[in-house]
C-alpha cells in the first residue's frame, strides 16, 4: 500500500488502513533501536525541521532521534515565545523554512489549527506534534502501538481516559484513533474538565474515576497542568488527587491484566501514585516512549515516500 497523505495533522483524518500501515511500519523499525549501531541509511539526504513553539522534551527528542536513526538531517528550532510576540508571523517563519527546502516540518504550537494552516500553505509534509488542545496524532499512534503490543489487539478493549479532557490533545487524538480501531472508550474527570458535547464523539462519560475504570483493559491517566488550579477548573491539587489519582486500591476495579498509560510528564502523587507508575506489572509508560521513536520513524519514512 502506498501512503497517500501529504501531512499528518490528526487522527481524525487517518483511515483504518493508514493507521495499520503506520503501525506495521513502526513495528518493523523497532528493532533498529536495539542494534549496537542504531542507524540505517534510509533517509540519507532528507532533512527534517522540528519547529517547536511550546516546550517539549519527550516529543522533540523522540522526533530528533527518529530522524537521526534513519540518517535524515534533523534541525531543531525552539521558539520560546509565540510568533506574534516575536514579531515575525508563523506564516513568514514557515515560508522562510520552506525556502530552505526541507522534506518534513514537524510543528508543535499552542494554537489549535496552526499545523493545518502550514499544511495548506507549504509544499512540504507537515507533522502535527501537538496543536493546542486539538490533536497530538503521534502520541495516539504510539499509544495504540503500545496497546497492540501488550494486548495483541485494540478492537473490543475498554479504554478509560481520566483527567483534564478539556485541555487534552492526547485525549482527542486517542478518542478518534482508538474508536476507529474498535476500542470502547470511557472518560472520567470533574465536570469542569469535560468539554461540552464530548459524548457526541462516541464516548461514555463518568464523573468518578472508579466508575470509568471498572473492567478496563487500559487506563490512560492525563497530566494535570498545575497552573490550571488558578483558573477555577478545580479547587486544589489536594482535593483532585484524593479523587482522581490512580492508586493501589482503585486499580483493583479494572481488569487484572490492566495496563496503565500516561503521555507524560507525570505528576507523581497527583494523577498517578508513584507505586503504580513504577510497577512493571501494569505500567507501560516507558514502553510508550520507546514505541514513540518507532512511530515517528515510520511517519518520516512514509511521508518521504519510503515505501513506494
Amino acid at each position: 500500500m502506498k501512503f497517500e497523505k501529504k501531512d499528518i495533522l490528526g487522527m481524525k483524518d487517518l483511515s483504518v488502513d493508514e493507521i495499520n500501515l503506520i503501525l506495521e511500519t513502526a513495528e518493523s523499525f523497532l528493532e533498529i533501536s536495539t542494534r549496537e549501531i542504531k542507524k540505517v541509511p534510509t533517509l540519507r539526504g532528507k532533512s527534517v525541521i522540528n519547529l517547536f513553539y511550546e516546550a517539549s522534551t519527550r516529543t522533540r527528542t523522540s522526533f530528533e532521534i527518529a530522524g537521526k536513526r534513519l540518517s535524515a538531517d534533523t534541525i531543531n528550532i525552539s521558539a520560546s515565545t509565540s510568533s506574534v510576540v516575536k514579531g515575525e508571523t508563523l506564516i513568514d517563519t514557515a515560508r522562510n523554512l520552506e525556502a530552505m527546502n526541507p522534506d518534513v516540518i514537524v510543528i508543535r504550537h499552542s494554537a489549535a489549527g496552526a499545523p493545518h494552516m502550514l499544511a495548506k500553505l507549504l509544499r512540504q509534509s507537515i507533522i502535527n506534534a501537538g496543536d493546542g488542545a486539538h490533536e497530538h496524532p503521534t502520541q495516539a499512534l504510539l499509544d495504540m502501538m503500545t496497546i497492540k503490543e501488550k494486548k495483541g489487539r485494540v478492537a473490543g478493549l475498554k479504554v478509560a481516559i481520566v483527567g483534564d479532557i478539556m485541555h487534552s490533545r492526547v485525549a482527542r487524538s486517542n478518542i478518534y484513533g482508538l474508536s476507529k480501531m474498535g476500542a470502547k472508550i470511557v472518560l472520567a474527570g470533574p465536570a469542569t474538565m469535560l468539554p461540552r458535547n464530548i459524548e457526541q464523539m462516541g464516548v461514555k462519560v463518568h464523573s468518578k474515576l472508579e466508575d470509568a475504570i471498572v473492567d478496563a483493559d487500559v487506563v490512560m491517566m492525563l497530566r494535570i497542568q498545575l497552573e490550571r488550579q488558578n483558573q477555577s477548573i478545580f479547587p486544589s491539587l489536594r482535593e483532585y488527587s484524593q479523587h482522581y489519582c490512580l492508586n493501589r486500591t482503585n486499580i483493583k476495579l479494572a481488569k487484572k491484566d490492566v495496563i496503565v498509560m500516561h503521555p507524560g510528564p507525570i505528576n507523581r502523587g497527583v494523577e498517578i501514585s508513584p507505586d503504580i507508575a513504577d510497577d512493571p506489572s501494569c505500567s507501560v509508560i516507558l514502553d510508550q516512549v520507546n514505541n514513540g521513536v518507532a512511530v515517528r520513524m515510520a511517519l518520516l519514512y512514509l511521508l518521504t515516500g519510503g515505501n513506494e
Partner: protein, 435 residues
Amino acid sequence: MKLLLTGSRVIDPSQKMDAVADVLLENGKITQIAPDLAKTLDSKSSGKIKTIDLASMIVVPGLIDMHTHLREPGLEYKETIASGSAAAVAGGFTSVACMPNSSPINDNRSITEFIKRKAAEAALANVYPIGAISKDSAGSQLTEFWDLKEAGIVALSDDGKPVMDAALMRRALEYAFSLGLPVISHCEDINLSGGGLINEGFYSTILGLRGIPSIAEEAMVARDILIAEFTKTSVHIAHVSTAGSVRLIREAKKRDLPITAETAPHYFTLTDESMQSYDTNFKVNPPLRSPDDLAAIKEGLADGTLDAIACDHAPHGRTDKEVEFEYAACGISGLETSLSLSLQLIHDGVLALPELIAKMSTNPARILNLSKGTLKAGSDGDITVIDPQLKWTVDVKAFCSRGKNSPFHGRQMQGRAVLTIVGGDIKFALPSLKL
C-alpha cells in the same frame, strides 16, 4: 436636476406600499410617487428630466446599516471613511451608523466632528457616528453624552467592549434616554466568554478551541432588559446570535418593553460547523452558533422579535487575519454581501420583501430616530434599486472596502443592489445597468 425612476415595483414599508409606480426626485428630495407618472410629466416638462427605466427592478427606501465599523481615525489600513462609504453604496446602503471603536475611540466631540467631516468629503453615503458610552470604552466613566449629541452622534455604544458594570449601564440608559439617544448593547459577559474563540459546543470540543457559551450573550441580554424595564428606558441589542437571546427579547416585547434588536446576515447563513477549516474569515464575535440557534434567528426575524438586519461590517487587513486562529481578529467585511445574503431569506420564504426592507431601512431609521427609511413625498432622496434575480459571485478582490475578509468569497448569490441614490444623486450604479 430631476430624476425619474420608472416601471419598477416600489416597496415602502413606511407607507405600506407595494405597487408598480414611478418615483420623481427633485433637488435631492422625493417629490412624487405614483403610477404612470412618466406620462403626466412628459406632457409638461420633458427634457429636463433624466429618466431611468427600471422594469423588473425593485425600488426601496435607501438601506441603512446601523452597525458598521469604518476604522478611521487610526486604523486606515483596515478601512477609511471614504472606502467604507464606497462599500456602503456598492452594497446598496445609503446610510451607515459607525461604531466608536476607531483609534482613538469616538468618545468626544472632536472625533465625532472629524468623522462627519471625512464623511462629507467622501460624499457617498450618509455616515452617522455612534459615540462611546464610556471614556475610551473602558467601562468606568460615562462620556459627555450631551456634547456628543450636539456634535452629531445618533446613538451610544461601547461596541465590542461590553459594559460589564451593571450600575454604569443603568446610568447610561437613564442619562441617554433623557436625551433621546438610543443605547446599543454588545451583550457579552466577558467572564463567561473567558477568552473563548468559537461557539461552545461539539465543534469547540473537537477542534480544541476555547468555547464562548451562548449564556455569555444571554446573561447580558437578560440583564439589559431588566435594567431597561426597571429604569423605564429602552435598549437596543446588537448582533443577536443565540436562540436564548431571541426568546428573552420576544418575552420582553410581549410585555411591551421598548427593547429593539438586530442580527447579522452571518448568523442566519452560517453555523459553527464552518470552523472546521480553521479559516479565520469565519471568526466573528459573537461567534457563529449552532443550527438550532440559526433556526431561532430566522424565527425571530419572521415574527418581528428581531427588528433589524445590520451587517456588523468589520473590515480587517491581511495581517489581522493571516495568523493562527486564536490570534486572528474577529469580524467580516459585510457591507457588500449583506443585502444579497438577506435576500436569501426571501428565496427561502422566511420573510416577505416588504418585511425585509423594513428590517434594512425603515426600522433602523426608527430605532436611530433618523428621518430616513421612507419614500414619502418630501423625504430625502435616498433610494436603493434592487435586481432580485441577478446572479453574481462574491469576489473579495472586487470589494470597494479595504477589508477583504469575507467567508463568502466565491459564493453564488441571487439578487443585489444595482443602483444607489443618496440625496437625489446617483452614488453607485452597477455597470450592467443602462442609465
